[in-house]
């Protein structure tokens, strides 16, 4: 059990897929202008990683190594299409905001990376936890970004106004730059900076 816990805990900080492994940035940044799509996106990625990890792990002894990448690609695409269909059916407004980025989970390097590095050589249960852990590690960064960008960019969280009216009366204005793509990149840079100053061994020489 301790092992399982480690599988979940490690990706949160020490082996964070975004801040340390630099995987899956492509689809991460565009969906974080608000908290809600960021959370939905994280959940989708978590589901896709965990379930495709399990499926690949179950099939690991039958997959011919020559077509292994294609098999993984098919499984991942299948999961992503399912997630996309579910989002369209049950959280339509969010799925509209996420637009093409749900589809881009397929090329999200986290998913393929975990399949190659973990699921192909481990049993289904650890693979599942590994997927959940990496999904959570991805989620942490997305949620921090979504929180900061929505709070300062639009003065709200999860669509509800948070900044009190009196702030605006006193001359406070929403920072429009926060909602722009550029700021997402700079914020990730800052997160990496903070993260690495606390874990010196992660610094690049």
């Amino acid at each position: 059990m301790a092992n399982m816990l480690k599988l979940i805990k490690n990706p949160l900080s020490k082996e964070n897929p975004i801040a340390v492994q630099v995987l899956g940035i492509c689809s991460a940044l565009a969906v974080t202008t608000q908290l809600k799509p960021a959370v939905v996106m994280s959940l989708s990625v978590m589901v896709v990683v965990a379930l495709s990890n399990v499926i690949v792990s179950l099939l690991r002894n039958t997959i011919p190594s020559r077509i292994r990448i294609i098999v993984q690609l098919v499984i991942v695409s299948m999961m992503v299409i399912l997630v996309d269909q579910f989002l369209k059916a049950f959280v339509y407004d969010v799925s509209k905001q996420l637009s093409v980025f749900v589809g881009l989970i397929i090329t999200n390097c986290i998913v393929m990376g975990r399949l190659e590095a973990f699921a192909l050589s481990h049993k289904p249960l650890p693979s599942f936890f590994d997927g959940i852990g990496n999904g959570l590690g991805y989620a942490v960064i997305l949620i921090i970004l979504g929180f900061v960008r929505e709070l300062f960019g639009q003065g709200s969280l999860w669509g509800y106004k948070i900044m009190p009216e009196s702030f605006f009366d006193a001359g406070y204005v929403n920072n429009g730059l926060m909602t722009m793509p550029a700021m997402a990149l700079i914020l990730v840079g800052v997160i990496i900076w903070i993260h690495r100053s606390r874990n010196e061994d992660l610094c690049e020489k």
């Binding site: 011919p64 077509i67 579910f86 059916a89 339509y92």
Partner: protein
């Protein structure tokens, strides 16, 4: 077990994989389709309700729509009614006006059909018509709600696909459509309602442009002109009735 790396095994394996994947996806797609379609319908209903000035949310939109929008019509350029949908039934024509896609109709020329949604609320009748045009980069669209006199704007709503955030995209900010309320549309059977930059020359017909988005604003003007003019003939027949 057969040799894992042999060609026949690989071939079999991929065939089974593809068939299974396709089957799972097809089942999911067919099963979820009704929900997805419903979401799109509700979104459209919400837009129609909002433009008619009726507050709504995702949950009550369908109910409200059913109660308020008593009739859906489609007319052609000559002002003839081609299809009617009333009390949950198609009474004339084949296509339900609700399902008409204006962007496709506009390309059809003389064959085109234009939907009108008739809303009865608190004893008043409001006519909501959709509009569709081109902004700076991409499509813009919306709804215009018209009062009983068939000339005064009761409300408006706009949306866009790819205008510049903070500039052209401001047409979705409620402040912009709010300006339209109470303006006049037609003068001598011509659409005079327009978005203008700078000083207004005819207060009754004009609305302030979005700051810094001249092309989007012109797009809105052109859209109003192109779409609303199609209803002139029909409104004439309504007035003489």
């Amino acid at each position: 077990m057969a040799n894992k790396e042999s060609n026949s095994y690989i071939f079999m394996y991929s065939t089974i994989l593809v068939v299974v994947a396709a089957a799972v996806l097809a089942v999911a797609a067919v099963g979820l389709k009704p929900f997805q379609k419903k979401n799109q319908e509700i979104e459209k209903m919400q837009q129609l309700l909002t433009s008619a000035g009726i507050e709504n949310d995702v949950k009550n939109a369908e109910e409200l729509y059913k109660n308020c929008f008593v009739k859906e019509l489609a007319v052609n350029k000559k002002g003839e009614v081609v299809s009617v949908y009333e009390n949950g039934q198609q009474t004339e024509g084949e296509v339900r006006p609700f399902n008409i896609e204006l962007s496709k109709e506009l390309a059809k020329g003389e064959q085109a059909q234009f939907p009108i949604f008739v809303c009865k609320q608190e004893g008043k009748t409001i006519y909501v018509v959709p509009v569709h045009g081109k902004g700076l980069y991409d499509a813009i669209w919306g709804n215009i709600a018209i009062e009983e006199d068939l000339n005064t704007v009761a409300g408006a709503l706009f949306d866009h696909k790819g205008e510049t955030p903070g500039l052209g995209a401001e047409i979705t900010n409620p402040n912009f459509p709010a300006q339209f309320k109470g303006k006049q549309i037609f003068e001598n059977d011509e659409v005079k309602l327009a978005v203008v930059k700078g000083k207004k020359t005819a207060e009754n017909f004009q609305v302030d442009a979005v700051t810094g988005a001249t092309n989007t604003s012109n797009g809105v003007s052109n859209m109003l002109k192109d779409c609303l003019s199609n209803y002139v003939e029909y409104f004439k027949t309504l007035k003489t009735e």
